[in-house]
Point group: C2
Chain length 290, copies 2
């Protein structure tokens, strides 16, 4: 089958409509004419995997990613075993749901620990454990670098270049990277690292959302609707498009105001902003994205 084009590349990540159940989110997405969704595990697990698979099948929507696995930085054997068990579950869920990509937020520093280099090494070690299991299930692990403001409490993986280094021992079909505008827009190495990600066939997901200022009191909730913050979507999207990436574009926004707004309205705004700010650059990468 051909890849979706135009507006059909847009995928609603259920984190954007956090107040909705899985069934409600699928209905809102389908009613808005979307063809794809990205799923968070919380919405899947609250109905159970079997029922989630049924709901997705009934919706007719494709699943672009499952979010999220990861949290692989535990230093103690029990913590590491728990993380591996949880990630194996996530891989099985992704496979059952038809999600080709499992997004990994790799985790921060253990409590009281300040050794970033050691935590980063443990992430590499856990990939050794997980990649064969993911491969058997036909699921790619998508490493997501997070904005450096989350380095200590959420993801010791901070840049696209670092993520590509971590993916390097594996085949592109086994380990990819997630390019999320919020997390990477600031990076002075973005042009060369996006180009490298494309050249190495590692772009597993492209997620768009804005970086709002001032930073929210809960820093996790500083993500914004495209156009509400400081991200230049044309620039980043042209870089991604110039690699030949023709996959889905997910909108994943953690934002208290957006969660409180009517979901139909949020999705309508999302479609409009995608059409205005993202899609033109995706379809006309131009010369500065090479």
């Amino acid at each position: 089958v051909a890849s979706p084009t135009g507006m059909d590349r847009l995928s609603l990540n259920t984190a954007t409509t956090k107040a909705l159940t899985l069934a409600e989110a699928l209905r809102v997405a389908a009613d808005a004419g979307l063809t794809q969704v990205g799923l968070w595990r919380d919405r899947v697990e609250e109905v159970g995997l079997d029922r989630a698979v049924e709901l997705v099948a009934e919706s007719g929507l494709g699943v672009t990613t499952l979010c999220r696995g990861g949290f692989l930085t535990a230093a103690d054997p029990a913590g590491q075993a728990a993380a591996l068990a949880d990630n194996r579950t996530a891989i099985e869920q992704a496979a059952a749901l038809g999600a080709p990509e499992l997004v990994l937020v790799v985790g921060g520093l253990p409590d009281g620990d300040r050794d970033l280099a050691a935590a980063r090494a443990r992430v590499a070690d856990r990939l050794v454990d997980l990649v064969p299991f993911a491969r058997e299930h036909g699921v790619r692990l998508a490493l997501e670098p997070l904005h450096p403001m989350y380095v200590a409490d959420r993801a010791v993986l901070s840049t696209l270049g670092q993520s590509l280094d971590l993916a390097a021992p594996y085949a592109p079909a086994e380990v990819g990277v997630c390019v999320d505008t919020f997390h990477v827009f600031w990076d002075p190495q973005l042009p060369e690292q996006v180009a490298r990600a494309g050249r190495e066939q590692r772009i597993a997901a492209y997620q768009v959302c804005d970086f709002n200022l001032p930073i929210a009191a809960d820093a996790l909730l500083s993500r914004g609707m495209m156009g509400d913050g400081v991200v230049d979507f044309a620039t980043v999207s042209r870089l991604v498009a110039a690699t030949g990436y023709d996959g889905p574009v997910e909108v994943e926004i953690f934002n208290a105001d957006i969660w409180a707004a009517p979901a139909e309205q949020v999705v309508a705004t999302m479609k409009q902003r995608f059409a205005d700010l993202v899609l033109p650059a995706l379809e006309q990468p131009g010369s500065d994205g090479s």
Copy 2:
């Protein structure tokens, strides 16, 4: 004269004692047995430059840096002219005060502008304008990369590597870089970029303060006393020491609780934390800093 050693390398930046006048800050520093201070321009300008020079001379303290110039990203001619005038004033102040280094916080995006690449190019252009003036005054411009969470509103310079690239056209005595633990500790390229900064003789200042979590409601105030946050001071300090850097170590903390506490107590804590967490690593760089 020989460079200060041991505790004499510690320098109190007056931003840490924001509630004090210049005279008060100098007295607190001297009473605590410190030999050096870093000065913010607000405290200098409120008494006037001539009086500030007198006060510093009377205190017997050395001046390690003047903070700060910069804000060089204006896109309009009037904004650029104003920025150049302000930075020339800062250079003159630094020279008069005997501060060998003027720290530059380069500025964020103009209002409504999202073009980071263009803003970064304008910083390079303004350095062309400023470096000859700074050279004539015997003041080095110290480019300070800021944490990427400030990229849009405070400094489009986000990494040490990017700062060194920006400094490269100039002699090491003309343009250096400021290594501030808060801003750089997360960087996966820190070991090689600190080593490069040393090799290129660009380390103009080493500033220590912690990265507190959760991020403060005003994100600028998330800086913390060493030991209160997530920074591994031993690791960063060993990297800096391994370059041969033997200059001052400034403590510059923006933090509402610290500003509200008695300054004598803050300085006593600062000395103790420096002695416990920073100085041992500075004096024994060890093998992982090469």
